[in-house]
Symmetry: C2
Subunit: 200 residues, 2 copies
């Protein structure tokens, strides 16, 4: 059985959001599944010596233009959030806590959090809003709020982020196919080709 693709992303990453609408279908074309791995991109920026795209002169303006253009191309609803970037640790903790306690909703949770931020302009840095999203999927809100504060939940986000850095991840989205790394939404066509051909 082929290994799932690994899809590292941060919930505050516009290109991660666009890619999140595409990655499952690309993998499925080739009989593969996707392991979604939210992590803390801000921690990686410190190690990698980089910053959010929008904070660079020139590149920042281009990026804002290109986020919208890329979303339109792929038919993904997108409006630039009024608060950007923001901290996504509550959402990432929610993902890993749900992974243990209610795995059937994790995928819907990831999509709902991304949509809340990039389509509805909700402040997903607010753990209460993240809990509302979980509750809308049938998760017990109080249990969620407690779950994201558990030491094991917090440790999991740190562990995945450390693992990402150790594997050379420096952006979002960042995808591995059997260890082969691909960075960026604009590399999903190459991901598709790699899956189709087995690499070159």
């Amino acid at each position: 059985m082929a290994k799932p693709l690994e899809f590292y992303f941060d919930y505050s990453s516009p290109y991660g959001y666009v890619a999140s609408h595409r990655i499952d279908a690309i993998a499925a074309k080739h009989g593969r599944t996707v392991d979604w791995k939210p992590y803390m991109l801000g921690a990686v920026f410190k190690i990698a010596g980089t910053q959010p795209l929008v904070s660079y002169p020139l590149k920042g303006d281009y990026s804002k233009h290109d986020f919208l253009r890329s979303a339109r191309l792929h038919g993904v609803p997108f409006r630039f959030p009024s608060k950007f970037p923001l901290g996504t640790i509550a959402a990432a903790r929610g993902h890993y806590w749900l992974g243990e306690s209610k795995p059937a909703v994790v995928h819907d949770f990831d999509r709902a959090v991304y949509g809340a931020y990039f389509a509805e302009d909700r402040d997903i840095s607010d753990s209460g809003i993240v809990a509302d999203i979980a509750a809308s999927l049938g998760v017990d809100r109080a249990a969620f709020m407690a779950g994201i504060e558990l030491p094991a939940t917090k440790a999991k986000v740190k562990e995945v982020t450390d693992e990402a850095i150790a594997r050379g991840v420096f952006g979002s989205p960042f995808i591995f196919i059997d260890g082969e790394p691909f960075w960026g939404n604009d590399r999903l066509d190459m991901v598709d080709q790699w899956l189709a051909t087995g690499g070159w």
Copy 2:
């Protein structure tokens, strides 16, 4: 008559090199030509607050892997130069001097300089080597050496670089289609789509 695509690049840019093998054919498919515009990426890095890709932790290692992978995908001969990055002002001045004095060879010159650096590992920061390349295309070597020292030639490189910055160019390759900006070799498929559809 449709405007030529504008192809901004630096001769020391690996992705610019790979794109240089692809851009003319993509434009030609849609009845368009390409205006090749070498400029000084180093000057842009200062304004944009960025550095050569390879100098970043994590991103640097990925980039070196991806240069080779991208070149293989497109059948472009590539070996990572022993001296990288390097200054390309002699080559850029050569381009603009030839544009005035022997325009028929400019395109061959651009390709030959790129190939000398990325396929043959020659030191194109050396104006003598750049002059040898021009001479191999039938250009008078002494005239070339004198031409790249002319104040008007030097001013032209600065003018194109300043113009690039003013237009928001921050990387290589960087392409405009009727004013619409596209950054990166990995955006050439999007360039193709934009030309085919007129944009979205």
